[in-house]
């Protein structure tokens, strides 16, 4: 199709602000999906995503729309992931578009992630169409939020569309705005082919399926293609579009979006952000903006039952097929046995992977304290990357430790600014700016990422009664006074409970942690000292008292089997415990680390 009749756009919206409902409504109005086939929220294809109300992986859907000007347009809706962990993926999706709908809930207003993604879109020169959704809600305040939205993007409040995706009110106007306000693509159809990979999925029957936006040239099925960054060549087994199911077509031309079935066996061979060209007549220069996915958060994953180790490895292999940003390597813990140290884009990514492992692969896992990657300079001048507290060199060999910092943006009603600033200060934050946005404040702090990966988000939500929203981006590594906090059970250090903390908070954290562990570890046959130590020096101690009584009441003839079975059942319960020396430690103890702050403050 002629490029003037093509529009590629994304929807930028906060979780629950109505992105999926609007997308569904657009599919319905354009007739891409019949009412009868309408499965609520077709774009969220994974159950897990549906339950969490978020979209992890972007996809592209093509609809045909006949506008008020009588012309028929090809409209490609390119979905974006909705979480801070996936900001790189968001940026690639936006790079595939000329415009974006900026959708905001008319009762909630702008949230921090919407703001961050809106900035990404502005930086990428996208035409933003502001939309207030849910105007049918009694709590809606469209005038207030229209002003804020217009302010943000330098537009007139009059131009803010007011709709209800739920009832369908105003959705037609949204489609008109896409056609009239957003520019068409302006690629060179005669130049060597360059297509941006903005998403890719692994299908067990078809291999890697890449979602692409053709920038220049064109793609046809049966052609030998090349991914420029990974330098992998493959055959385009099929090209097509989602409308909304996979529909093969002969050709994807400059300006159009669609998919390529590549037959590649792993997502590692075709990364999001890469440029696809034709192997026989390759482009000389790749599209800009590609970068390797870099894990930011690490934790150990160990099977509760050591027999599940091969199963865990298989599951990680399978998940990696469809998730190029998941990295993992074997790890051995004295306390937890064989497992894997895994790297994730962020906390949500970690939660999703862990949940999928447990749910889809039926594994029972222990997760160790999440941590970030530290750059440690040793006294010999060597720089080592430390992804686990266990790998930290001994203090007398450390020259300095550098930790990653993020710029953290919190959007919060005025009433809760104090609480947010208090929390950020507690977590070693450095104040940057505070800017009012209508009835709220945008509070910006530079903070160590390590402080965020613990429970910052939960704390932020609970201290602001859910009103604060958070976004953060990596800025740089900074040197910090960091120490390794060890936990000892019955005098033995437990590697899986070690953590790297700032010297100033070590005492409070150590104290809180031993208190929590004392509460979590059941009484044993012997007294168990629970200690926190830094470099061999004990800084906090609690004691799990010895069990005083553990007898089965009366036992007569009829009772013998019952009593024996009770012992067998208790034995099963013990199997779920981890044996650390002579101490039986329940799984919950390894999570006690995460709840640390509630107790220590």
């Amino acid at each position: 199709m002629d490029q003037s009749h093509i529009r590629n756009f994304s929807i930028i919206a906060h979780i629950d602000h109505g992105k999926s409902t609007l997308a569904d409504r657009i599919l319905q109005i354009t007739g891409a999906v019949s009412d009868r086939d309408m499965r609520a929220q077709i774009l969220d294809s994974m159950d897990l995503e549906r339950e969490r109300g978020i979209t992890i992986k972007a996809q592209a859907v093509r609809v045909m729309y006949t506008a008020d000007d009588g012309e028929t347009y090809q409209i490609n809706l390119i979905d974006t992931p909705g979480h801070v962990d996936f900001s790189y993926e968001v940026s690639r999706s936006l790079a595939a578009c000329e415009g974006a709908l900026l959708v905001v809930d008319a009762s909630q207003g702008i949230e921090a992630q919407t703001l961050a993604n809106a900035y990404l879109a502005i930086e990428g020169d996208l035409e933003l169409v502001p939309v207030l959704n849910k105007i049918d809600l009694p709590a809606a305040d469209p005038d207030l939020h229209a002003r804020a939205l217009a302010d943000l993007i330098g537009d007139d409040p009059e131009n803010v569309l007011r709709i209800s995706a739920k009832t369908g009110q105003g959705v037609k106007e949204v489609l008109e705005a896409i056609v009239t306000r957003m520019p068409p693509p302006r690629g060179n159809p005669d130049a060597p082919t360059r297509a941006l990979v903005f998403d890719s999925v692994y299908d067990q029957y078809r291999g890697v399926v890449a979602f692409v936006r053709v920038m220049d040239g064109y793609l046809t099925g049966g052609t030998k293609l090349r991914a420029m960054a990974t330098a992998s060549d493959f055959d385009a087994e099929e090209v097509g579009v989602m409308s909304p199911v996979m529909t093969p077509i002969a050709r994807l031309s400059a300006g159009e979006s669609g998919y390529i079935v590549t037959g590649l066996k792993s997502l590692h061979e075709l990364r999001v952000g890469d440029t696809i060209t034709v192997a026989a007549a390759p482009a000389t220069e790749a599209l800009s903006g590609y970068r390797e996915a870099k894990p930011m958060v690490f934790c150990g994953l160990f099977p509760v039952d050591s027999d599940d180790y091969p199963g865990l490895r298989d599951a990680l292999e399978k998940l990696s097929l469809n998730d190029a940003s998941l990295v993992w390597e074997p790890e051995t813990s004295q306390a937890l046995g064989f497992g894997f140290r895994c790297g994730f884009l962020g906390l949500l990514h970690m939660d999703i992977i862990r949940e999928r492992l447990e749910r889809e692969y039926d594994l029972n896992l222990i997760t160790t304290t999440p941590n970030v990657q530290y750059e440690v300079t040793t006294t010999t001048g060597e720089v080592v990357a430390v992804r686990s507290p266990v790998d930290l060199p001994s203090p007398n060999h450390i020259e300095q430790i550098e930790e990653p910092y993020v710029r953290c943006t919190v959007l919060v009603p005025q009433d809760h600014v104090g609480a947010v600033m208090g929390l950020c200060q507690d977590r070693r934050g450095n104040f940057v700016t505070m800017t009012p946005i209508e009835n709220r404040q945008q509070v910006v702090y530079d903070m160590p990422l390590a402080e965020i990966v613990l429970d910052f988000y939960d704390q932020l939500k609970s201290r602001t009664r859910g009103y604060a929203s958070l976004d953060y981006e990596m800025i740089e590594g900074r040197v910090g006074a960091l120490v390794k906090l060890d936990i000892l059970l019955a005098g033995e250090p437990v590697d899986a409970l070690s953590m790297i903390v700032h010297r100033d908070s070590a005492f409070a954290r150590g104290k809180g942690l031993v208190e929590r562990l004392k509460a979590t570890i059941p009484r044993q046959m012997f007294e168990v000292p629970v200690q926190a130590a830094i470099g061999g020096k004990i800084i906090a101690r609690e004691t799990v008292k010895a069990k005083r009584k553990d007898v089965l009441a009366k036992c007569y003839g009829g009772d013998i089997s019952r009593k024996r079975k009770l012992l067998e059942k208790q034995k099963d319960g013990k199997k779920r415990m981890k044996h650390v020396g002579n101490v039986e430690v329940p799984q919950e103890a390894f999570l006690a680390v995460l709840q640390l702050d509630e107790n220590s403050q």
């Binding site: 046959m525 005083r548 553990d550 007898v551 013998i560 089997s561 009593k563 024996r564």
Partner: protein, 371 residues
């Protein structure tokens, strides 16, 4: 070691399931409000005894348990005891359970004449508010009256059952029980910790058991008080004046063979254990038809028997003979447990220390791999 006694089984348990009401803590096979079936039940019971008597040798002990055996009434008990009498070895122990409020002179005369040598009274508590928690019908006065009647009837040995760690029980309540024992002077005391058994009303209710420290304090107070009064703590929950130990129970803890008859009754004749199904209608119908009662069977392999011997043998205060019980699954644990002061070992023997006895379950778990 695995064979049954060549002279035949020497221990008989007879289950008499009738109760006037179900107690809050009870999850046993009992039948409430079906007294009109007592004759038919007794008929069935005697038929089962007749069917199984070939396995029996001269009986060293017999135990009539329930339920509430005393609810059977004097005549039926006399008929039952008359059938058992010829099977007894000289000097046999014949025990019977009774609830205090169901005991009268006629009943006591009937059972003493029928050969009962030992009466076990279900007193449970001397405190009215705790009897209420336990749904017991007897009052403290009923208990005192029953003790006096039993003594007057010339019963050989008198035992009382008490329960500790009842929700709401204080150390003063326990002291009151000890004082009650001081007056009643039974020969034997069974003092059980209340179990929140699945299926009992108390487990379904919202009463919380005392915490571990409180329950331990009550337990120790019971042990100390009874020892001071001259009772031997001969099994984890049982106390006796010298010579008044329950031989029938000792047979269980020695992992001996026993035959159990009646609805829900369990028998163990190595290497087999079986349990008669619950439900007296079904039980009576099967026997009336000339069949064995419906039963569930369990084969006890050598490892199971060995683990049961450790589980049972460490309950009593005498030495456990390792050659008899078989080796522990984890012999290394013996040294560790001894170092911790939980057991004492001699040449080929193991016994639990006082601290070890309160942790008997944990000690056995350390030594044996159940499951």
């Amino acid at each position: 070691m695995m064979r049954s006694d060549p002279d035949g089984v020497a221990h008989l348990y007879v289950h008499l399931p009738f109760c006037a009401s179900r107690c809050g803590y009870c999850a046993f096979v009992v039948e409430v409000g079906r007294e009109h079936q007592r004759d038919a039940y007794l008929d069935a019971l005697l038929m089962e005894l007749e069917r199984e008597r070939a396995v029996l040798g001269a009986l060293d002990t017999v135990y009539l348990g329930g339920g509430t055996p005393s609810l059977m009434g004097a005549d039926r008990l006399a008929r039952l005891l008359a059938a058992i009498g010829p099977l007894l070895a000289p000097g046999a122990e014949v025990s019977m359970e009774a609830n205090p409020e169901t005991v009268d002179e006629a009943l006591l005369d009937a059972i003493v004449n029928g050969g009962v040598t030992r009466l076990s009274l279900g007193v449970q508590s001397s405190r009215p508010h705790l009897l209420g928690v336990l749904d017991r019908r007897a009052t403290p006065d009923d208990a005192a009256r029953a003790v006096a009647l039993a003594r007057a009837a010339g019963i050989g040995a008198l035992s009382v059952d008490l329960i500790l760690a009842v929700p709401g029980q204080s150390p003063d309540d326990l002291a009151a029980d000890l004082e009650w024992i001081g007056h009643a002077t039974p020969d034997h005391v069974s003092w059980y910790e209340l179990e929140f058994k699945e299926g009992s009303a108390i487990a379904r209710g919202n009463l919380a058991p005392p915490d571990e420290d409180m329950a331990t304090d009550l337990y120790l107070a019971a042990v100390d008080g009874l020892e001071a009064a001259g009772y031997r703590w001969y099994e984890l929950a049982n106390f006796a004046r010298p010579g008044a130990e329950c031989r029938h129970s000792l047979a269980y803890w020695a992992a001996s063979d026993y035959l159990g008859i009646g609805v829900g009754a369990v028998s163990t004749i190595a290497p087999r254990r079986w349990r008669n199904a619950p439900g007296i209608d079904r039980y009576m119908a099967a026997l009336a038809a000339g069949d064995a009662p419906v039963r569930t069977h369990e084969e006890l392999d050598a490892d199971t028997r060995r683990r049961e011997r450790w589980m049972l043998g460490t309950r009593v205060d005498s030495d456990l003979d390792v050659a008899w019980a078989g080796p522990p699954d984890r012999p290394a644990a013996l040294e560790m447990l001894e170092a911790e002061g939980l057991i004492e070992t001699g040449p080929g023997t193991v016994r639990l220390t006082r601290r070890g006895r309160l942790l008997q379950n944990a000690v056995v778990q350390q030594l044996m791999d159940f499951a």
